[in-house]
């Protein structure tokens, strides 16, 4: 469903994505890596937001550079900055989005109400974005990604900053749409959720794929595999934090 071959993206001297090749079929694929590894940049390339310097990307066999509009019609995206408008309420975001993807207003309203119920946003649906918590914004962006029932869903850190109950609900929702044949591609730092949801895990470091569970299956727990690939955090002591308060 997602095919990318030799994707490279450079920003001046920095190579954010370095010759990445991935073949992702239906199911749930998680992209894991430390901050600055290139996860969001790769996601932006796959969702037509950023053109790569080289390489080829196909979503459902459509070349994203040749026909990005056709790709946008069949994907649902929760981008890094969530892609929301300050001047609209939660419900209005969904009302705006549905017809753009060809849904009738009645269908948009029915689907919106269901999504808002599932995501626990019914009571706050009339709240403007400026009055929403980070979690509510994230859930709104997720609802926008799912509203038009896309064939491929891209989510940038969907579980970060979400309460545990909603995180479980989202996980179940994504698992169920994946069972229907939708491809879900998400980035995350929460390895517990990655382990329980993803059928495939890809680890990325400095823009390059360092481990792909499909290519090199590993029986070890995901946390161990992760530690093996990524440097432990610095252990420098902050002396003044150890002394009495001042």
């Amino acid at each position: 469903m997602i095919h990318c071959a030799n994707i490279t993206k450079r920003f001046a001297d920095l190579t954010a994505v370095n010759n990445v090749t991935l073949e992702i079929p239906e199911g749930v694929c998680a992209l894991v890596g430390p901050n600055g590894a290139g996860k969001s940049t790769l996601l932006k390339i796959l969702t037509t937001l950023l053109p790569p310097n080289s390489g080829e990307v196909r979503i459902a066999n459509i070349d994203i550079q040749k026909d990005p509009l056709a790709v946008r019609r069949i994907i649902g995206v929760m981008p890094e900055d969530l892609g929301l408008f300050d001047s609209l309420s939660i419900a209005e975001h969904l009302e705006l989005s549905g017809p753009i993807y060809g849904l009738s207003m009645a269908e948009t309203r029915t689907r919106s109400q269901q999504l808002l119920r599932v995501l626990g946003l019914t009571r706050s649906q009339k709240t403007f974005l400026s009055g929403c918590s980070h979690g509510m914004r994230k859930k709104t962006s997720l609802a926008l990604a799912l509203l038009h029932n896309p064939r491929v869903v891209f989510l940038d850190e969907p579980f970060e900053g979400i309460d545990p109950t909603t995180a479980d609900t989202i996980r179940d929702l994504l698992a169920s749409i994946a069972n229907r044949g939708v491809t879900v591609f998400f980035t995350s730092h929460i390895l517990r959720i990655v382990r329980s949801l993803a059928t495939r895990t890809v680890m990325i470091r400095s823009g390059s794929v360092v481990w792909d569970s499909a290519a090199t299956p590993d029986a070890r727990p995901l946390e161990e595999v992760y530690s093996a690939f990524f440097e432990p955090s610095p252990t420098e002591e902050v002396d003044w934090l150890r002394s009495p308060s001042s």
């Binding site: 053109p51 509009l69 981008p79 900055d81 209005e92 705006l96 403007f128």
Partner: protein, 361 residues
């Protein structure tokens, strides 16, 4: 005390920076018109009284956003968390008023004019506005349904939601309120003045369109990065995105003109607006002048002058001699829409050829 002084200094810096944002009015079409009127009066040896109502309108409208509580610049949770005693908090509350722009403007008036009455008159206007702003802000916070922008309905069609979003953005710049006040005044003149001259309706309509014309140069200026990402993700062609912007602009202008109930007025305003949007296309897409909510829109000087001169010239010609100029300006607007859409698509959708070039690189 040292912490309080530091905090006040920071507050003063924040207020000063915010005041600078009001300078955007200097490149506003309405301000430029008023300035031009004042200049031509002075050059001709007359007192610039004709432009005074325009300057007053601009100033009074700017007082609303200027009147916010200086202490509100500090995030409430941060303010609560800082370890200040009750005495220090009271002191901070009292002294914070010295950072109020209103007070400094009153002092400035006093020093410059040496007229105590003038400074007092300013405070007499500004303080009720400050109270009104605080009350309205509190009321809309506790009862969100009181927010007028919330009641702008969704329009039908595929991009009806986008048009609503654009209408709300237009209603969050002061240009809209200046145009609204002008429109109400014009309608009152039209309906309640027995000596109202129908020949004056079309120029009045053009004036309303002119007051509203600067935002045409910054139609994406109020979009956040997040909003622009969503635009890029929508499966929409460039012309659909731009048409949703232009439609909001035309809807607002025509709604404000409609109470004049005069076909020539509608024609004149439409002509001016088509010219303004056509000329505003390049700055709004390429130059992208920054725009803040609750400020007057700011344009690019050359494009502002072009909007004023061409808009007025073609508008008057359309009213007096050549009605066919309206379809001509409409055609020019359509051409600018097509060109702008091409630019938008290039930005958000590289053509296969460009993609190939990129691949080969």
């Amino acid at each position: 005390m040292a912490a309080l002084t530091l905090l006040l200094k920071t507050l003063a810096r924040v207020v000063r920076r915010e005041l600078r944002s009001f300078l955007s009015v200097g490149l506003n079409n309405f301000f430029l018109l008023a300035a031009l009127m004042a200049y031509s009066a002075i050059v001709n040896g007359m007192a610039p009284w004709d432009s005074v109502p325009f300057f007053l309108l601009l100033s009074v409208l700017m007082l609303f956003p200027m009147s916010s509580d200086p202490l509100a610049k500090i995030p409430p949770s941060r303010l609560e968390l800082w370890p200040f005693s009750t005495r220090e908090r009271v002191a901070l509350r009292v002294i914070s008023f010295t950072a109020s722009p209103i007070l400094w403007i009153a002092l400035g008036l006093l020093v410059l004019s040496r007229k105590f009455a003038l400074a007092l008159l300013f405070l007499a206007i500004a303080l009720p506005i400050q109270a009104l702003t605080a009350l309205a802000s509190r009321a809309t916070r506790s009862l969100p349904s009181l927010q007028p922008l919330r009641h702008i309905p969704r329009l039908p069609g595929r991009t009806g939601g986008l048009i609503r979003h654009n209408l709300r953005q237009l209603a969050s710049v002061l240009d809209f309120y200046a145009a609204l006040i002008m429109a109400i005044s014009a309608a009152a003149y039209r309906w309640f003045d027995p000596k109202a001259d129908p020949r004056g309706f079309a120029p009045l309509a053009m004036l309303i369109a002119l007051v509203l014309s600067t935002p045409a140069q910054s139609s994406f200026g109020l979009e956040s990065d997040s909003g622009l990402t969503r635009y890029a993700l929508f499966p929409l062609q460039g012309w659909q995105v731009l048409l949703a912007k232009d439609a909001a602009f035309l809807i607002v202008t025509l709604t404000l003109i409609l109470p004049l109930w005069d076909i020539h007025a509608v024609g004149a305003a439409a002509t001016f607006t088509f010219v303004a949007i056509t000329l505003g296309r390049y700055p709004s897409l390429v130059l992208q002048p920054p725009q803040l909510r609750w400020r007057f829109a700011s344009g690019n000087f050359r494009f502002s002058v072009a909007q004023l001169v061409l808009g007025a010239t073609i508008g008057f010609a359309q009213i007096r001699t050549t009605p066919s100029l309206l379809p001509a300006t409409c055609a020019a607007w359509l051409i600018s829409l097509a060109a702008g859409a091409r630019y938008w698509d290039k930005l958000h959708r590289p053509t296969p050829k460009e993609a190939e070039t990129r691949k080969s690189k």
